[in-house]
């Protein structure tokens, strides 16, 4: 009797161990997956706030356009997308991809492309006439070796300076007119400081400082020079980059020193409550001003960061078609909705960004977005560094760390060396 019990217990243990090892065995149900549009599993990190509202609006349009395709939400919350990216990497590695997943458009896709995990969508662009409605400079940024791998759902701009009009007027500066270049901007900051504004410029944690540096690089190097940093045609040990670092450290002298560890709204709120005059932040900051009851053009205004007028430093969320997606036809329906005029309108009105299509009607959008849409249609589009459009994540991590070190030690030489090393490593991989 005792022996029998022991045997049963032993078997149970073995069974448990096996169950632990086997994992998900039911992922490979294929059949005719390319034509299966019964459902679409969409993987995002849009799980709360305006992003969730945007996704809901998008799904509503999707259900109207494709009533026979069931939308399955596979959102993973938390960590500004990093949790989702880790979860996605393990699914892709196990060849168990969702039907479509969210990723920042541009270089953040490099890892997926090199590992042959996502499909070329150039044919999809042609079929749906997207090459005509997206700006050609945006298409240049999305194209890798002649192929496009993702469909952008919305566009944000990263070279925006948010300005407290009251502080500038008091110091005798016209807030409506942007300084012509960084020198003029620094002169204005000095003027503000002389007028008792302790911190003319506000910064927050490391990535916001990366974004500020990216704006300075853009301003000093121009669109082509800046874009060349990411393909190696501009070197980080060039004299222009040294100049940019010099401007950057001058700007930091006018900024608060307690930013590290604080999230971006802390810095933006300093412009709202008048402790800082300027904040360089992406245009998602609009929502922060809205919730604090501020009116565009009255308490605050915006201009492109000095020296970057005529350039649109873009970042975008986009969707992909993974290799081996179980419901590829459903995924194509989803991509059609995202790229359609109605889908882009519904999503961007809810999220506060602008559509990637240039044929959208500005009258549908609030004042700030109207201006952004006008620049997006005519400006040179360049890729944002801080938000994954310009370089792959590991390269960005190296740059972020170098900037974090520079902000605390102010050692320009070490900083430039680290940037050079990051470029060498980033281009080699």
């Amino acid at each position: 009797m005792r022996k029998a019990l022991a045997a049963v217990a032993g078997l149970a243990v073995a069974g448990l161990a096996l169950a632990g090892c086997s994992g998900s065995g039911d992922s490979g149900n294929n059949g005719d997956s390319a034509n299966d549009d019964s459902q679409v599993e969409v993987f995002t990190w849009w799980a709360s706030g305006s992003e969730k509202a945007g996704l809901d609006a998008l799904v509503k349009v999707f259900n109207e356009q494709f009533p026979s395709t069931k939308f399955v939400n596979a959102a993973v919350a938390g960590g500004a997308g990093s949790n989702a990216k880790n979860a996605l990497a393990s699914r892709l590695k196990a060849n168990n991809p969702p039907d479509s997943f969210q990723a920042h458009a541009g270089a953040e896709l490099t890892d997926y492309i090199e590992a042959k995990k996502i499909e070329d969508l150039s044919a999809f662009y042609k079929q749906n006439g997207l090459t005509d409605v997206f700006p050609s400079t945006l298409l240049d940024r999305l194209t890798v070796d002649g192929k496009i791998y993702s469909v952008p759902s919305n566009i944000h701009r990263a070279n925006v300076t948010w300005v407290n009009t009251d502080l500038l007027t008091k110091a005798g500066i016209d807030p409506k007119v942007a300084p012509a270049d960084l020198d003029a901007w620094l002169a204005d900051m000095q003027k503000l400081k002389d007028n008792g504004v302790e911190t003319p410029l506000s910064v927050a944690t490391d990535w916001t400082q990366v974004q500020l540096f990216e704006n300075v690089l853009l301003s000093v190097l121009g669109a082509d020079g800046y874009q060349g940093l990411w393909d190696g045609s501009t070197k980080f040990d060039s004299a222009e980059v040294t100049t940019a670092i010099d401007y950057y450290s001058k700007l930091l002298k006018f900024a608060n020193t307690d930013g590290t560890g604080q999230d971006w709204p802390v810095a933006t709120d300093m412009v709202v409550d008048g402790t800082a005059a300027y904040n360089v932040m992406g245009d998602w900051a609009l929502a922060e001003f809205d919730t604090k009851g501020q009116t565009y053009g009255k308490e605050y205004t915006t201009w492109p960061t000095p020296g970057t007028d005529g350039m649109f430093d873009f970042l975008a969320d986009s969707f992909t078609l993974p290799v081996g997606a179980p419901h590829a036809a459903g995924a194509e329906n989803w991509l059609k909705t995202i790229s359609s005029a109605e889908g882009q309108k519904a999503f961007n009105l809810a999220k506060g960004s602008i559509p990637a299509r240039t044929d959208a009607d500005p009258a549908d959008y609030p004042e700030y977005q109207q201006g952004a849409m006008a620049s997006f249609a005519k400006d040179t589009v360049v890729s944002s560094l801080a938000h994954g459009a310009a370089v792959k994540i590991s390269w960005l991590n190296d740059i972020t760390s170098a900037i974090g070190q520079f902000v605390s030690t102010k050692d320009a030489g070490t900083f430039q060396d680290a940037l050079v090393q990051a470029q060498t490593k980033g281009l080699a991989q």
């Binding site: 005792r2 022991a6 217990a9 032993g10 243990v13 073995a14 448990l16 161990a17 632990g20 090892c21 990093s82 990216k85 880790n86 990497a89 892709l92 590695k93 890892d111 997926y112 090199e114 590992a115 995990k117 302790e198 944690t205 490391d206 608060n256 020193t257 307690d258 590290t260 560890g261 604080q262 300093m270 402790t275 792959k392 994540i393 590991s394 960005l396 991590n397 972020t400 760390s401 900037i403 974090g404 070190q405 902000v407 605390s408 030690t409």
Partner: protein, 296 residues
């Protein structure tokens, strides 16, 4: 022979679930992690064996050395702080105060709060804004007229990690106190009385009777605190997130992981494991010896 199985069979069977599960989920996975650490593995592409290159790269990388230095500063302050306060409180309670139970609970309570929850509060307390915009501790210092003591806290280059140890000390000093208190209580009153009879002064009593008896407790406390300190991750992520200035190996590992550099992340994990082993293994050997001695 049959009798032999009867003797050791059933106990082995009873602990076999633990052996198998721990074997797979701890030791096998440590092995898998180590083999990943020897590859140039990224999240998606096939792995390529590179031997110990990840380790040599890390140990010559200024950024990783910076994170190790941060960890060193944090660990020293954390250990000294918790041991000091823990011992002091335990000693005072042992001396006999009224409402000892209440004090004991008060000192132990912080341990019940998770690092993440308290970290969010400490982020605000340790804000390095000064002057008009000051908040948290800097504001407190201002309002009691000690404005000159305002501080950059964790934002200070170099010794900033010492400020990061404050929340950890606050949280775990009570635990060390509990350990020491049980140590004090384990010393029979007769020993003290005997020492007093022999004319020992209060200091000599502690020096020659009490402290030697506290020795094992202190060692346990030290090892527990040290290995917690080496693995610190949640507190730092809650207070600052993963930024350069407060980077420790555990947060660096997380950054490497999200950057799809699995080989590098595994190498950092392995180094962390070895660091913890430096503390834990001698302790395990010591306790095993002590137990064997006691059994004899």
């Amino acid at each position: 022979m049959r009798k032999g199985i009867r003797n050791w069979g059933p106990p082995l069977l009873l602990i076999s679930p633990t052996i198998i599960l721990v074997g797979i989920f701890v030791y096998v996975l440590i092995g898998v992690n180590f083999s990943t650490a020897m590859t140039k593995d990224s999240a998606l592409t096939a792995s390529e064996f590179v031997g110990l290159q990840n380790f040599t790269d890390l140990l010559t990388e200024p950024r990783f050395l910076h994170s190790l230095a941060n960890l060193g500063i944090f660990t020293v302050f954390f250990m000294v702080g918790t041991m000091l306060f823990g011992f002091l409180w335990a000693w005072m309670l042992d001396k006999g105060v009224t409402a000892e139970g209440a004090f004991r609970s008060i000192y132990l309570f912080p341990m019940a709060v998770s690092f993440v929850a308290s970290g969010v509060v400490w982020r605000w307390l340790l804000s390095s804004a000064q002057g008009d915009r000051a908040s948290g501790l800097n504001r407190l210092l201002q309002s009691i007229g000690l404005g000159g003591l305002q501080n950059d806290w964790y934002n200070a280059p170099g010794w900033g990690m010492a400020a990061m140890a404050m929340p950890a000390i606050w949280q775990l000093a009570g635990y060390v106190m509990a350990l020491f208190l049980s140590g004090f209580r384990g010393i029979p009153e007769e020993l003290r009385e005997a020492a007093r009879m022999d004319g020992a002064s209060e200091w000599k009593l502690y020096r020659h009777v009490v402290f030697p008896q506290l020795h094992p407790v202190a060692l346990s406390a030290l090892v527990i605190v040290a290995h917690m300190s080496l693995k610190v991750f949640d507190l730092i992520m809650a207070v600052t997130g993963s930024v350069y200035i407060t980077e420790v190996p555990a947060t660096y590992m997380w950054v490497a992981l999200t950057g799809a550099e699995y080989g590098k992340a595994s190498a950092i994990a392995t180094i962390l494991l070895l660091l913890v082993c430096v503390f834990i293994v001698p302790y395990l050997i010591y306790t095993a010896r002590a137990e064997r001695k006691a059994r004899r």
